[in-house]
Structure formats: structure tokens, C-alpha cells
């Protein structure tokens, strides 16, 4: 595929691969600063999906004709790409789901319902996205396990000094944390928390939806037991994500969804489950979406995760510097060194929805709300924040456009 390989990422070059930027919004160039919600798409990814539909489309597996074989090869090729990008040991451990939320629900139901009970602890953090909070709260309630929370310090980082006190409350069975906070950009010390979880005899569920687009995620180096990612945040299509889990755990688990494809044999009196990964992939897979996801991974790895991380770090430093000069602004989250490309903020006396609305009129797309993190918003003592987030195609001019837009916001509400 035609991607310019440079050691240092040139976002203007990368940007040319993304057709969405060929338009104006309200007569202004589009400054898209909402990639943490979903990433824009390179034409290479869309062409891979079109090619799949145009030349190789049929339902996968079991078909004995050429198209079914091509489609199966494409799906399984995509699975291998996901395995490689996560450095997972075994391709059978890569399970295609709809999104990271479904991946976490799969673990919460299939593992949680059968492994949790009274006296057990489910540990989450105050930073969690609802997707890695609500399923665990629900399953803890159903099984009689207790939900414990790793608190945040003033900078929006996890306070690990609380871990001993948490362990004293019961048997730590599962620790569910995000790699990168979608609200504050905080990069959590996953290796440390994984080691602690294992020392307690528990497992680590890592929500990597917000990290895998931006950093090299190595599931083995991190020491995770389950990892959830979403394709659409990684320049892939919506409707596909992946659960990675250690084979030993996946083999011992019961299926999540029942139906076609996930079986070994079905009789009137008994059904036996299929092999990994099929046991967890009931029904027709998101085939074209998986192919698009694979192409998106190719795109990201060609640009290079190190280059993407470095580019976003540069933008974050620039944004924090420029935004901290705005009177009446409150910036949330840790210093740039321990932060992904996310800046959450509030402007005194102006509700985030009004900020976002005025910015939209200036062609700037940001997110305003609770970012699916109501527990965190309660902790910060705010109803909502504004969030600007960056990706490989973000250019400095977009941050300038944001800063100019915020001057307009202040003028309107002066």
C-alpha cells in the first residue's frame, strides 16, 4: 500500500490519505479533534473493504467453493494481523467481536459469572469508561462479589498506595483497568497493576481501546490476561473489535453467545462447543469489517506506532502550552509525559455544550459531555468537560483553530 514511510511522521502527508479532510465545515477547514471517540478512515482501508466485497465476498468457513475460500482466507488473514499487532502468542486467542465493549462483556459474562462469588473482589478504577465499569458492576451484583475502586490522585493518575487496603477487603479475582483514560489521557502503569493482580491470585482485564490506536500494545509484555480493542478507533470500520485472552483461560470458559458456527456438534440432547476462537464467534462474523480492520492495522504499522506516539506527544505538549495561556481555562489530567493525545478542559462559566457548539461553527469538532465516565466526572466535581483528542493525521493548525475558537467562546460569554 502507498504510505510514505518516514522516521518522523509528517501529518500533512498522512492527512492526504484521509478523504474526510477534503471538505469545509461551516465554511472553515475541518479541524477534527475527536479521534478518541472514533478515528477517521484512510482510503487504503476503505479500498480494502471494497475490494473484498467486489472480488472475494461469500460467507466464511465450511464453504467449498472458491469465493468462500477467499473470504475465509481474508478473515483469517485479518486475524493474524491483529495477533501480530498485539504480539499475542497464538492466533486462536484472537476473537472478533463488535467492539471493545462487547469484548469486555464477553469476559464479564463468560468468565465473571462462573468465577466470582461472595467474598471475591472485582477491582476497577475511578478512571474507567462505562464499558469497563458497568459490566463489572452488574456481574459483581449478580454473583455477590464486591466492587472495589482504585482511586485517583489530584493529577488524575491512579493512586497505587491504595492497593494494600483494597487487597485487605477480600479475594482479588479480577482487576479491570483501562490502558489509557479516554477522558484525561492518563497512561496507566499496566505492568505494575498486572503484577499486583497476579500476586493476589487474580487476573487482569485490560481495556486497550484508547491505547492500541496510539501506542505499541504488547499483551505479553504488559502481563495482561484479557485485552479488548476496537477497530473503529484504529482507522478501521465500525462494527469490529477484538478480544485477546490467554488460551488457557479461554479454553476453560463457557461461550458467551450461542448459535451457528460456535459448535462442535449439536444433538437433541446436547451441544458441544467448537475450538478456539470459533467457540466465541457465534453467527456470521463481521467479515468485511475484519478485512478493513486488518488493512487499517497495515496502515498504522507502516506509518509506525513509535512515530505516531511521538507525533501525538508533540501535539499534546503544544496544545497544553497554548491552552494554558487562555484565561479562565481549567485543564484536567497528568503532565504530557504520562498522557496520551487527549486534553480535557473547561472554560469558566461556559457549559461544555456551548463551547462545543461555538467551536463547531468555527469548523472545530471536539467532544463535550461526560465521555461515558460519570464516576470520574463526579470525582472531578463537574457535570461534563470538553475534550480535544489527536491522532496521526492531526496537524498543529487544527490546535491553533481550536485556540482561536476558544477566544470566540470567551467573547460570546464575556
Amino acid at each position: 500500500m502507498a504510505v510514505t514511510v518516514t522516521k518522523k511522521l509528517d501529518a500533512h502527508v498522512v492527512r492526504a490519505d484521509f478523504p474526510i479532510f477534503e471538505q469545509e465545515i461551516h465554511g472553515k477547514p475541518l479541524a477534527f479533534l475527536d479521534s478518541a471517540a472514533s478515528a477517521q478512515k484512510p482510503h487504503q482501508m476503505m479500498e480494502a473493504m471494497t475490494a473484498f466485497y467486489s472480488t472475494s465476498y461469500a460467507n466464511v468457513h465450511r464453504g467449498v467453493y472458491v469465493l468462500a475460500e477467499r473470504a475465509t482466507a481474508a478473515l483469517e488473514g485479518a486475524r493474524e494481523k491483529v495477533r501480530a499487532v498485539l504480539n499475542a502468542p497464538d492466533v486462536r486467542e484472537i476473537i472478533f467481536v463488535r467492539n471493545a465493549t462487547e469484548a469486555i462483556n464477553l469476559v464479564a459474562y463468560s468468565w465473571g459469572m462462573n468465577n466470582l462469588g461472595p467474598g471475591d473482589l472485582v477491582v476497577v478504577t475511578e478512571l474507567e469508561h462505562h464499558s469497563n465499569f458497568v459490566p463489572w458492576q452488574y456481574v459483581a451484583g449478580k454473583t455477590g462479589a464486591q466492587l472495589a475502586m482504585i482511586p485517583l490522585d489530584e493529577q488524575g493518575e491512579l493512586d497505587l498506595s491504595s492497593l494494600d487496603a483494597i487487597a485487605a477487603k477480600g479475594n482479588v479475582k479480577v482487576v479491570a483497568i483501562g490502558h489509557v483514560s479516554n477522558s484525561l489521557g492518563t497512561i496507566n502503569p499496566v505492568e505494575k497493576i498486572a503484577a499486583w493482580a497476579h500476586a493476589q491470585g487474580g487476573i487482569l482485564m485490560l481495556d486497550a481501546a484508547q491505547s492500541a490506536p496510539h501506542l505499541a500494545v504488547d499483551v505479553q509484555a504488559l502481563g495482561a490476561d484479557f485485552v479488548a480493542i476496537s477497530g473503529h478507533k484504529m482507522c478501521g470500520p465500525s462494527g469490529v473489535g477484538t478480544l485477546w485472552g490467554r488460551a488457557e483461560l479461554l479454553l476453560a470458559m463457557e461461550p458467551f453467545l450461542m448459535g451457528g458456527h460456535m459448535i462442535s456438534s449439536v444433538r437433541f440432547d446436547k451441544t458441544t462447543w467448537g475450538e478456539l476462537p470459533h467457540k466465541f464467534e457465534a453467527g456470521t462474523a463481521p467479515m468485511a469489517e475484519a478485512v478493513g480492520f486488518g488493512a487499517a492495522i497495515d496502515y498504522l504499522t507502516t506509518v509506525g506506532f513509535d512515530a505516531i506516539t511521538a507525533h501525538e506527544h508533540e501535539l499534546t505538549e503544544y496544545a497544553l502550552g497554548r491552552m494554558s495561556e487562555i484565561p479562565g481555562i481549567t485543564l484536567y489530567g497528568p503532565p504530557a509525559e504520562r498522557r496520551s493525545g487527549i486534553v480535557s478542559f473547561n472554560i469558566d462559566g461556559v457549559h461544555p455544550h456551548d463551547v462545543a457548539q461555538i467551536l463547531d461553527m468555527n469548523g472545530v469538532a471536539i467532544r463535550a459531555g461526560h465521555h461515558c465516565c460519570q464516576p470520574l466526572m463526579q470525582k472531578l466535581g463537574v457535570a461534563a468537560t470538553n475534550r480535544a483528542s489527536f491522532y496521526l493525521y492531526t496537524v498543529q493548525e487544527e490546535i491553533d483553530q481550536l485556540v482561536d475558537g476558544l477566544a470566540t467562546v470567551r467573547k460570546v460569554f464575556a
Binding site: D354, M361, M377, Q378, A383
Partner: protein, 144 residues
């Protein structure tokens, strides 16, 4: 007038910055709390009836949220004082929207109607009349 000037026109900003009827009535003859969970807008409405138990003698609101939700609730306070509970409980939302008179996307429409919805719930509860479709449990959302 540009789209921008239209949405944040002077009267909206004035109601937002200087809300009319802002405060709490304790005790109140009718009261409800409303929340727009998607945005985090919050409005509480308090009503005192006149001696006839029907005319809205005084109405106040408290809350926090975007300019559209707070300004439209402020406008609503002026609109309903002196009218009857029965009339306001079935008020056509268009009357308020005409007063606000700005183009609203579906998301912002919810902000604009939060105050009116909360007021209607308060009046129905006080009168013991059944809540209109879609409003059951409306004020049972937990305010943060």
C-alpha cells in the same frame, strides 16, 4: 444573521447570565427534578399555587447546564406565572420554542425542553394526574 449569532442571540445570553425566577421555594406546592443525562443539564422546578390551588402564583428554578437549557427555563418562568396548572401541564411545547426562536438540532432540542418537561412533571405529580407518555420515572433520575 449568521447561524452563530442566531443561536447565541442576545436574549438567550441575557437569560443565561441573568436568569429570571432563579431560586428555590421551600415548601413548594409542586416540585420536580429533571436531568438530561446525555449532557449533564440539571433543572429543579418549584411552584407555589394561589389560594384557588390552581393558579401558578410563583415559580422558581435552580440548576446548572448549557446556555440553551438554562435560558429556556428562565424564559419559561416568565411565560407560565399567573397561568393555571391544568393549562401549563398540557402546554404546547411550540409556545416555548417560538419564544426561544432559534434553530435547534435534535440534541439541543432536549436541552431547550428540559425545563418545560420538568415543570409538567411537577404539576402532574401535584395534581395526581397521570404523566404523559414517556415521562414515567423522569424525575427519579439521580441528580449529582
Amino acid at each position: 444573521m449568521s447561524e452563530f449569532d442566531q443561536m447565541y442571540r442576545e436574549v438567550i445570553l441575557d437569560h443565561y447570565k441573568n436568569p429570571r425566577g432563579h431560586g428555590v421555594l421551600d415548601p413548594a406546592d409542586a416540585h420536580a427534578d429533571g436531568q438530561n443525562p446525555l449532557c449533564g443539564d440539571e433543572v429543579s422546578i418549584y411552584v407555589a399555587f394561589a389560594e384557588d390551588g390552581e393558579t401558578i402564583e410563583e415559580v422558581k428554578f435552580s440548576g446548572r447546564g448549557c446556555a440553551i437549557s438554562q435560558a429556556s427555563t428562565s424564559m419559561l418562568m416568565e411565560m407560565v406565572a399567573g397561568r393555571t396548572a391544568t393549562e401549563v401541564a398540557t402546554l404546547d411545547k411550540q409556545e416555548l420554542l417560538d419564544e426561544i426562536a432559534i434553530q435547534l438540532s435534535p440534541v439541543r432540542l432536549k436541552c431547550a425542553l428540559l425545563g418545560l418537561t420538568t415543570l409538567k412533571v411537577a404539576l402532574h405529580k401535584a395534581k395526581g394526574t397521570p404523566l404523559p407518555d414517556g415521562l414515567a420515572g423522569f424525575d427519579e433520575l439521580e441528580l449529582t
